[in-house]
């Protein structure tokens, strides 16, 4: 076996090992897209209190929760879901609402694309050079939003789940869960506003 063919077989073994190793967890992130203006608005002042990430796969919970809290508060302010939005501390008015967020699934996974191995070998790498999908990034996120009144009485609890996946090529291999995270937060807020309006918590 000459050196070139030995090299080819080593490459093949590595790719086969990759394809059978399943998937890898991607490091979590916290930033959100700029919010579009909310259609349904609740004329109330709200305070963002706790943002918890209970997903056991998130290693650095404190850092993620802290940053997520800041980004969610900005997102609510930009979207104009409520008359006024701030993060605690602050003086909670009698008619104000307090929001707690909890995320129990917050991890993205990367799987090898089933065609990437045979097509990369078959085309001697041209498949990758021309931007063929080499992996799939999958987000399965879920979260809950708990709304309390100024006396810490729970008014409502809404939940949402988002499943999103997108192809990854050689040219866009940086992981991103921006779309999925933003959709999840947006859905939680929309559901929360609708729920509160339907139950006449306006005043």
């Amino acid at each position: 076996m000459n050196r070139l063919s030995r090299y080819f077989y080593v490459q093949l073994i590595v790719l086969v090992m990759l394809s059978t190793s399943g998937c890898v967890n991607l490091p979590p992130s916290t930033n959100l897209k700029s919010a579009e203006h909310a259609v349904n608005i609740l004329p109330k002042t709200i305070w963002v209190d706790e943002v918890k990430v209970t997903d056991a796969n998130v290693k650095n919970q404190k850092v993620i929760e802290e940053s997520l809290r800041g980004n969610i508060t900005t997102y609510i302010q930009e979207g104009g879901y409520f008359k006024e939005a701030n993060a605690l501390p602050g003086i909670i008015g009698k008619d104000d609402l307090v929001l707690d967020f909890e995320f129990d699934h917050f991890i993205q996974e990367r799987h090898l694309h089933p065609l990437s191995l045979p097509l990369s070998i078959g085309t001697l790498g041209l498949y990758m050079v021309f931007g063929g999908p080499i992996a799939v990034d999958e987000s399965n996120l879920s979260g809950h939003l708990i709304v309390k009144d100024s006396n810490t009485l729970v008014l409502t609890r809404v939940s949402a789940e988002i499943q999103e996946d997108h192809y990854v090529s050689m040219y866009n291999s940086i992981p991103t869960g921006l779309e999925a995270r933003t959709s999840l937060v947006s859905e939680l807020l929309t559901k929360c506003v609708n729920e509160l309006k339907n139950n006449n918590y306006k005043h």
């Binding site: 992130s29 916290t30 930033n31 929760e65 940053s67 800041g70 605690l88 040219y171």
Partner: protein, 204 residues
């Protein structure tokens, strides 16, 4: 044969000079005196650090590793200022709350990056990047005490002959130094406006 050997040695030596180095632009934040004079009665401060990255006007993920690095530099600035009796995090009970928002705005040029790689680093490429820190200080009643914004830009070069500059201008350490300085500058500006003295300690 001898020429080929010589050429390959030159190529190897040239490739060894390849590197990536980051340089701070002029107009960096001025630091009048560090640490500043400490007050007799010190307040506690709780920091909430959040961040985002924007490349060519498109948002990108900032993973937990980078967030942690950024947070460490923010905490280091507040701890070494000597102005606070304790530096806490997030929602912990405190006299002052600082909401620190970090934005990393970069303008990478994919075509130039490709050209650099394609020409074996003969043609260098540059990435322009600005770090922006917006800090809002609040008291324990949620009343805004002050708001400070600081920006500094850096340029990262990749190409031949850049390797020696990596020892003093490593892309791993320069942005951390910038972040530390921007936070120190924010603290000094807020302190000069008596932001940290205006808190009534012990009030609900």
């Amino acid at each position: 044969m001898r020429i080929l050997n010589l050429l390959s040695i030159i190529l190897v030596l040239l490739s060894l000079t390849t590197g990536c180095a980051t340089f701070r632009e002029d107009g960096r934040a001025t630091l009048s005196k560090w640490p500043p004079d400490a007050p007799v009665n010190k307040n506690t401060i709780a920091l909430q650090v959040s961040g985002k990255a924007i490349a060519n006007d498109e948002q990108m993920d900032v993973n937990e590793g980078i967030l942690e690095q950024w947070r460490k530099e923010v905490i280091r600035a507040y701890e070494t200022s000597g102005l606070f009796s304790a530096v806490k995090s997030g929602r912990e009970k405190s006299d002052i709350y600082a909401d620190v928002k970090i934005s990393d705005k970069g303008e990478p040029n994919m075509f130039m990056a490709f050209l650099t790689g394609f020409t074996m680093f003969l043609i260098p490429s540059k990435v322009h990047e600005c770090l922006i820190i917006n800090t809002t200080y609040k008291d324990q009643n949620g009343k805004a005490l002050n708001s400070v914004s600081k920006t500094e830009c850096v340029n990262s070069w990749i190409g031949l002959f850049v390797f020696p500059a990596m020892f003093s201008n490593s892309p791993g350490t320069v942005p951390k130094d910038v972040l530390f300085d921007l936070n120190r500058s924010s603290i000094l500006e807020a302190n000069s406006k008596a932001t940290f003295n205006t808190v009534s300690r012990g009030e609900p």
